[in-house]
Amino acid sequence: MIEFTLIHDGKDWIAENPQIRVAASTLEELDRCIKASLIREGAIQPGEVKKVFMAFDNATIPQWIRQYAPHYFNRVLKVTLALPDGTITET
């Protein structure tokens, strides 16, 4: 499992861990950027499926709202990089 902290800075969604930081205006675009970054960093190999966990940092939500609900959302994303012949192996 590859883990990220997720925030929204008012303009972009930002997923970050000590090795990778990606930003995008939509979650769809963010997911594509994460996959590209994982490939670039060699964190995913052809034929692999990796789980990506994104924990939303509630500090993004103003403090006066946090007293009503301490949790926003977490995401789990399966990133797949198929082999040229289309096969994959879940890890």
């Binding site: 883990e3 609900a69 959302f73 977490n74």
Partner: protein
């Protein structure tokens, strides 16, 4: 810094307000419970009493327990301040707030709240036909403790709207949700205490309140969503977030839904600001209207408030105001004295059922959004989201309720006059009575302080304001009354017998 990616089921137990409401509630619950072994460890709490006319102000505050009579009003007030200051400052420290700022703000809010509480217990405001002669009065407003609640809200609103810099400073300690959730844990003691006297009635109230959950999720939400989408043409995500806020449980539902549909946080902020302001409007106007029109169905009125008024703080506060207004009006009408707390309980019990399922509802919405609407490739919805969104203070509420029920039904074998029940009542009364009302009062003051009506004019709420107005007053309130009537009609508040 909290490790966000390795969050366990127990994460947040020492760092979230939700859990701290449980700890603050249970700490004083256990102190009270020790009365079954003899000592009264909670009777020191300062309890306001009616004064004015022939009764001097010095009688307006006294310790709740007979064992602490020697403390007098000032000693009792100081001990109350000391206990709750230490307890809440420990919570503030654990939650990593600015403790110095919290301490100063808390001290101001605490003493302001007590001053309002005592002053508005003047017989001119609080006495009714059954007791005004005791104060040498021919006439009074008959508002009971409702006058204090309304005054605390009004004075809080004056600070929040006319002294904004000061209100901003106080906001570190103005925590209506923390205070009301703590009060609801104390209310669990009240419900357990009431079950000692009328177990069947409490059970009926709980079952009937559960029906409201179905209404909120399956009638209010789709109806409000349709109003937002079809009539006001709001975007899909905004409609979903707004619908949850208006029809389920206010800000917490809006935040949960926004997370479920992956909305940008700005939508949550806008909807939440709108909900807080509307909740105060509901809190001010609905209790007097229900009192004027529904005196023959007090439990229906309470349960309907639970379905209509959003945010736990505003709902419980509205229930408490309704309780005071209706009981005092009843006494004025025919001299009948209804027992205190049943109408508040009917409002809160309905809301708690609704609160408990918000995690499940948000999970269902997340499944629908992720797999059917957005269809993002590879995304899954973690099951743990249900637990993360579960309101933890509910655990404290049920624990305290069932603890007293256990004493009555198991230890005392159902005998409400057994010595252990009498001993348990000594410690339960200051907690379920004075401490609960103190935290209600703190909630009223705090709601006022953090509510800025100018936000309505400044923020670009646009059509959302009208969606809220139409959905609330034309759809939700009428349906809440109909459903409240179906499930609660005929239930009457027990009459004070001694």
């Amino acid at each position: 810094m909290e490790d966000l990616t390795h969050r366990k089921w127990y994460s947040g137990m020492t760092t979230s307000e939700d859990w701290w409401a449980v700890w603050l509630g249970l700490a004083f619950f256990f102190l009270g419970l020790l009365s079954i072994f003899g000592p009264d460890l909670v009777g020191w709490v300062a309890k306001p009493a009616k004064w004015g006319g022939t009764v001097a102000l010095s009688h307006g505050l006294k310790p709740a327990g007979k064992a602490y009579k020697s403390l007098g009003p000032w000693g009792s007030l100081f001990v109350t301040y000391a206990f709750f200051t230490v307890a809440t400052c420990i919570g503030a420290f654990a939650m990593k707030w600015n403790v110095k700022k919290y301490f100063i703000g808390w001290t101001f809010i605490f003493f302001l709240t007590y001053a309002i509480w005592v002053f508005f217990h003047h017989a001119f405001f609080a006495a009714n036909i059954t007791n005004r002669a005791k104060f040498g009065l021919d006439w009074s407003l008959s508002l009971g403790g409702g006058a204090s609640f309304i005054a605390a809200l009004a004075i809080g609103l004056i600070i929040g709207n006319f002294f904004k810099g000061f209100a901003n400073f106080l906001s570190e300690a103005a925590k209506p949700e923390w205070f009301i959730k703590t009060a609801i844990v104390y209310l669990g003691v009240k419900v357990g205490y009431m079950a000692m006297k009328a177990a069947g009635f409490v059970f009926h109230l709980a079952v009937a309140g559960a029906a409201a959950t179905i209404v909120a999720y399956l009638i209010f939400w789709p109806g409000t969503y349709m109003i937002a989408r079809k009539i006001f043409k709001l975007p899909r995500k905004t409609s979903a977030v707004l619908s949850s806020g208006i029809s389920i449980c206010g800000v917490s539902a809006a935040v949960a839904t926004a997370g479920a549909v992956r909305a940008k946080p700005i939508i949550t902020v806008m909807v939440s600001a709108l909900i807080v302001v509307y909740a105060v409007i509901e809190l001010v106007i609905l209790p007097p209207i229900f009192t004027a029109t529904m005196m023959n169905q007090p439990i229906v009125a309470g349960a309907s408030l639970g379905m209509a008024v959003k945010t736990d703080g505003a709902d419980a506060a509205a229930g408490a105001v309704l309780d005071e207004l209706m009981r005092n009006r009843k006494a004025d009408m025919d001299g009948t004295q209804w027992e205190e707390g049943w109408i508040t309980t009917s409002a809160v019990m309905t809301k708690i059922w609704i609160d408990m399922f918000i995690g499940v509802w948000a999970f269902v919405l997340a499944l629908v959004w992720v797999y059917r609407i957005d269809r993002k490739p590879g995304e899954e919805v973690p099951f743990s989201e249900i637990w993360h969104r579960f309101p933890k203070f509910v655990l404290g509420y049920f624990f305290t309720w069932f603890a007293y029920l256990f004493i009555l039904m198991v230890i005392a074998g159902g005998d409400a006059h057994a010595p252990i029940v009498a001993a348990a009542k000594v410690g339960a009364k200051p907690v379920e009575g004075v401490m609960r009302k103190l935290f209600f009062m703190l909630t009223f003051t705090s709601i006022g302080i953090i509510t800025d009506f100018k936000k309505l004019a400044e923020a670009r709420f646009g059509r959302m304001i009208f969606v809220y107005f139409v959905a609330l007053f034309i759809f939700i309130v009428p349906v809440a009354l109909i459903v409240g009537y179906i499930f609660h009609h005929g239930m009457m508040v027990p009459i004070v017998t001694s």
